[in-house]
Each structure stands twice: as C-alpha cells, then as structure tokens.
Symmetry: C3
Subunit: 280 residues, 3 copies
C-alpha cells in the first residue's frame, strides 16, 4: 500500500534540507536557457555551477551533491566531456539528472545518449516525445525508434509515454519524469500525476530545462523519485500562482522565479497529486 | 501603384498563420542574446530551436520553416557549421535571415560573410553601419569597404544605408531591413519606413537579434518583404507600448515580451508605416 | 591624508563621463551570465561587445576603452584567446578587469590564471575565496595554495581576504575589489569598505560577473581604484533600492537593472563608504 502522507513528509524534508544546506548541483546544460536554470536552482535554495570542459565535468561530478546533464546545445568538446562526466558520476555513485533535449537531431547527440544507457541516470526528465524516443534508442519497452521530437517540442501526450517511462525507470533503478499539462513521475513501481502549472510554460524557453536543474538540486538531498516529484510539485505550484498575476510571458518568467523562491515546504507537499501503483 | 491596404492584409495573414500553426524557426545565433531571441520567437507564436554543430544546422535548415543566422559570437566550429547550413538552406530553397552583427571584427567573420553572398539570404537585417559594410564586402552599390561598425553599434544613420539596402535586396531577390530610430525595409522595388519603437531598445541587449529571430518566424509563413515588415511593425508597436509603462531597461524587457505576446494581427498591421517606390 | 570629498568628486566624474560618452567595454565572459553582464553595462551607460575567438579578443582589446575577462566557463579555444587578449591589453597599455571565477576547478583555468600574473590586470574582482586563492596561485602574501572556492561560491569572509587583496594590488599596481556583504576595495595604499547591497545578490546568478563588467565600463574613464569603487557603489545603491520594492529574486533582477539605470552621479558618490590607509 502506498502511503501518500509519508510521501508528502519526504517532500517536506527534501525542501527543508535544500533551503538549510544550500547544496551545489553542477550542470552541463544548453546555452539557450543556462541563465534561467541557474536562477531557478538558486531560487529554490540550491547553488549552481556550469562547465564545458572534460576535467571540469569530472570535478563537478565529484564535488556536487548531484549533477544535471542537458544535451540541448552540443559543442564539439562534449564528445569528451559528457561521457567522462557521466562515467565519473556512475563510478562515484553520485546521482544525476539526464534531460535528452532534442533527441534525434544530429549524429553526436544520438551517440552520446546511447552511451548514457550504461551510466544509468538517476532521474530522466523529458517531454513525452523525448521519453518515448529515449526508450526507443535504448531498445526498451514503450519506445519507438523514430523520434517524433520537433526541435525541442513534444508531439506526443504524456499518457502515450507511460510505458516508456516505466521501462526507463526499471532499467535505471531511478525515476522518470514526463513533463506536460499534467506531469507523470514514476520509479517503475509507483506512478504519480502532478497537477498545476501554467499555459505560459510553453510560451517561455527553459521551463523544462530549469525543472531538470531543480530536480538535480533536490536530488542532492532526496531519492530520485522524491526529487523528481518535489521539483514537479514546486513548478506546478509556482507556475499556477505566477500565471494568476500576469498577462504575458515576460512578467510570467519574473513572477515564476519569485514564486519558486517563496513556496514553503508544506505548500509544495500539498500541491495536488495522485499516486498509485505503476501500470502500463 | 502600391496598395497599402493589400500590404496590411498580408501582414494580418502572416501574424494569424503564425499564431495558428506555431512554426519552428531554427537559429544559429550569438550566446549573449540567445535566450531573448528564443523568448521573443515564442512570444509572437513561433517555436525556437538553437544549435551549434554542422549536421544539426543542416537538419534544422531542412526541418524548420525558416532559419535565423546571426554571427554575433563565433565559435571555431562555425567555420564548418555556417557555410554548410547556408548551403543546405540555399539548395533546399528554404528561406533564411542573415544578421551580420559586428561585421569587420575578426578574420573568420569576414570570411563567413563573404561566403554568404552566394547563398542569398532571403532577409538581411542589420543596423545602418552593418548594412553599408555588408554591401561593401559584397562589392555592391552603396557599400563601403571599411566597416564603421563599433563593436555591435551603428555609427551611421538609417538613411545613409538606403542605397546599400536596395542594392543588397536586388542582389538576393529578397528583402533588407535597416533598424534604427525609424526602420527602413525594402525589397529593391518598394521601400517602407516603419515607425514607433523605444529609446530603451538601445539600453538593452538583444533588441536587434531578437527582431531577426522574429523575422525568421514570420518568414516561415510570408514573403521576405512581408516578414521583415511584420516583424518591424510588431517590434515598433510593442516597444512603444512597453516604454509607456516602465522607467528603466529591466522592466522594459519584461513588458516588451508581454506586448509582443498581446499584440493582435490588426494592431500590428495598423502600426504606422510609409510605403513608396524604392529610390536611392 | 585621504580626502574623501576628492574621491567622491572623482566618482561623479567617472559616472558622468560614462553617461555622456557611452564607452565600449569588450568582454570575454562566461555564458551563464553573459546577457546580464551586457545589460548591466548598458544600464550604467556603457556599450557591450562579447567575443570568443583569439583575433577578436585582440581586436576588442585595442578597440575598447577597457576589457573584462571572466573565466567562469572555459571553451577549448580560450587556451589561445585569453593569453593573446591579455597580452594585447598589456602591450597596448589598455586597462582590464580580471574575474577569477571558480579558480581551482580544472587544469586549463589554473594555467590561464597563472599566465595572467605577468599581464597585470588593472582591476581584480572576486569573492573572498577567489581573491585568497589567486594570491596563493601567484605566490603572494595572504594567499593560500589550496582553493577553498566551492563551485562559484565563497567560503571565506571579506576580512579574511584583506591581506591577499592588498598584496595583489601592490603586485599589479592597480586595484582589487573583494565582493561580499560589505565590499572591500584597495589600491594597495588605501582601502575602502563600501556599504549597501542586498541579500538577493546571492539568490540570483550574475551579480558578481555583471559587477566586473560594469567595472570595465568605468575603467574606460577612470583609474582602477575609482572604477572599482564607483561600480561597487552603484551596485550597493541599486541593490539596496531594488530589494525594498520586491519580494523575490525574479523581480529583484529586473528592478536592479532599473535602479542601475536611474542612479545619478551624485547618488552614487554619496553611497556610504569608509576610507582609510591600507593595512593588513
């Protein structure tokens, strides 16, 4: 039996530990939204550090509480940096978040994402099309070989990605979060639908990337499943609140960071979610 | 005879098609303003995707409705990425926007901008000094060989760039937009002065770059001339409106994105502009 | 004897010259906060230009009034770009600001920072841990060999960095600014404590980087000591004012840029500071 109150208690603890200890989560992330990722990580109480070079990736892997890897924009040096960083994380038993942005575009991205299969990211976060495509690339159930990702956008619904998400979570032994109108989070045995958010998430760049960065912050202090759920909850709460105070995407971004900052542990744990046993 | 109402009708159609179909415009653009470019593209109803690597540039060239190339900050890999992407665009007959930022600075930039002459960008957008320098580099009328660009700023007036703009438009068969206090847009046979905007455009970074990115969004759905004119009009309208609500460049940026998002097709078409036959 | 009123007069002049002449300060800076650096430079009245390539760095070194070098995120090409740019600055007698962000992380960063010792940056700006680590790397008094930098954060107090700051200033013949709750600025013979600021500086990314970029703007028009002091004063003033109008880090950023823009020369000179002879 799943005890929802116990889950909420763990969310409260994750949020409070982060606010108290200000854990550093290093990132190798795309240059489009890198500033927003760092600001979101700081807003929830974490600390941010971003690098590009191989030995710096290895350094952060060991020094950080958890690490965020987002393949949104690749530089040539990433051919070395990303496998070496992922290997360092895996070998040190350090948790990390993978964001397979734009999977299917370009030869290097495909090669890197294939390599990550063995380094088992603790949390995989993506939109529905990305999750389905990653399961396909890794030859897991629910995946399809042909990516339906359009640039950085999803063309699939969250529900369509359930089987792929569960298969990925079973493979890694961690958690998978599928972001969409309602977010889906699973650790392979239980599944959660997290509610809230805002239609403005699609009208700004970086809502998804910064969610991944914030998951890495909580992952410094909580299990993959609780980290993914806590980050989704604070995003859904802050997005919902920010939307009610603005009428455009510019002020939404600004207000959203403020709401991330102001949300209390209890409010985050109380953000609506449904939890049940995982089933495809 | 030029029918202004017909032009306005085409602007309305461009705006409405973009809001309805959410076209993707890929970009290879500078890292200083890349976030603002993406957010502006999303605010007007488009979708954004940014890359750095050669095969990814080729992929976006084929997959996107139109592509934005801004040479503001160059990485070494751009020696391959930019010519291959421009060639792919040209060979596929796909429209693209060139923003020759900081023309005259550095050897690679000059070499890349020279190569672009044969790949005929559908829209060229720049400040007066950049347009004059590009016409000079391409050995066209109205150009001067010695760039007067100061970093990323113009030291020439929009009127001084008229001849260069018309010559460039005649060479490409597309449109040229010279941004300044009043914007000048031409397709080589007609010319437009688009009014509005804000003095804050010079107090924030990325007003020009994001204008180029938004031109690429409209270029997915309209001719080069209408795309350049529509983007200039929505910028002039949103800038004018935003300025009236703020007293500094920070809130201006935020409010400007909101006004981009809220402007209706009719309001954009009604933003003041003068149109006449092109003459040097 | 130190004449505080004379110092204030020099601050007024620096601010007014910048507002009047709009000097360009080129930057080679990290990609996380590059947009915020440029916007802060524009807000105080300067002009910004950012590059990555070696010959472009040399070009900006010669063309700009002063240059800002921040090693926060390194690309492989920086192995060439940064030494060539620093050498060009040194040989041309052009002033520049060094921001030794994340000193201690990675082999290339250490090697570059070592090379900079001979090119004597006019202003060195950092948090306490960075300043202590740089003095250590350069084998100067007050430094320690083992960096205590945690990612990009300081683990030392400003006072702990006094000896290192004075030793660095004596070595370069320029100024050193240690940012913290109270900022410490010295030219090796006098020392200043500059008051104000905001607790939100730690809750956004780029407060430190953009301060360095703004120092480069004032350095185009003033001595290293006055430039460092003026930039610290406007940051402390604008931070203090912005904090009083907001309740979160999102709106703080926006409001802070507005306050940078609105601060007058007299207000900046009047921002509280203590000045005395330098002593360890």
């Amino acid at each position: 039996m799943i005890d929802k109150e116990e889950i909420q208690q763990e969310i409260v603890q994750a949020v409070e530990k982060v606010k108290k200890t200000n854990p550093m989560a290093g990132s190798i992330t795309n240059s489009v939204t890198i500033n927003f990722v760092a600001n979101a990580q700081l807003a929830v109480g974490g600390s941010a550090a971003m690098v590009y070079l191989p030995d710096e990736g290895e350094f952060l892997a060991k020094a950080g509480g958890a690490t965020y890897i987002n393949v949104g924009t690749l530089f040539p040096i990433y051919e070395e940096t990303l496998p070496r960083t992922a290997k360092a994380l895996y070998e040190a038993g350090k948790p990390w978040v993978l964001d397979p942005v734009a999977i299917g575009i370009g030869e290097l991205r495909t090669r890197l994402l294939l390599q990550f299969k063995e380094y088992k990211p603790s949390v995989i976060k993506g939109n529905a099309s990305e999750i389905i495509a990653l399961a396909g690339l890794w030859d897991l159930e629910g995946g399809i070989q042909q990516s339906k990702v359009r640039g950085v956008d999803s063309t699939d619904s969250v529900i369509a990605a359930k089987a792929a998400a569960i298969a990925l979570a079973k493979w890694t032994g961690g958690a998978v979060a599928v972001s969409g109108e309602t977010d889906f989070i699973t650790n392979g045995t239980v599944q959660v639908f997290s509610h809230g958010g805002s239609h403005f998430f699609e009208k700004i760049t970086g809502a998804g990337c910064s969610l991944g960065g914030v998951m890495a912050v909580y992952l410094s202090m909580a299990s993959p499943f609780i980290a993914a759920l806590t980050a989704s909850a604070v995003y859904n709460l802050a997005g919902y609140r920010a939307e009610r105070q603005v009428d455009g995407p510019g002020r939404f971004q600004t207000q959203f960071l403020d709401e991330l900052y102001k949300a209390t542990a209890k409010e985050i744990a109380d953000n609506p979610f449904d939890i049940e046993e995982a089933e495809v």
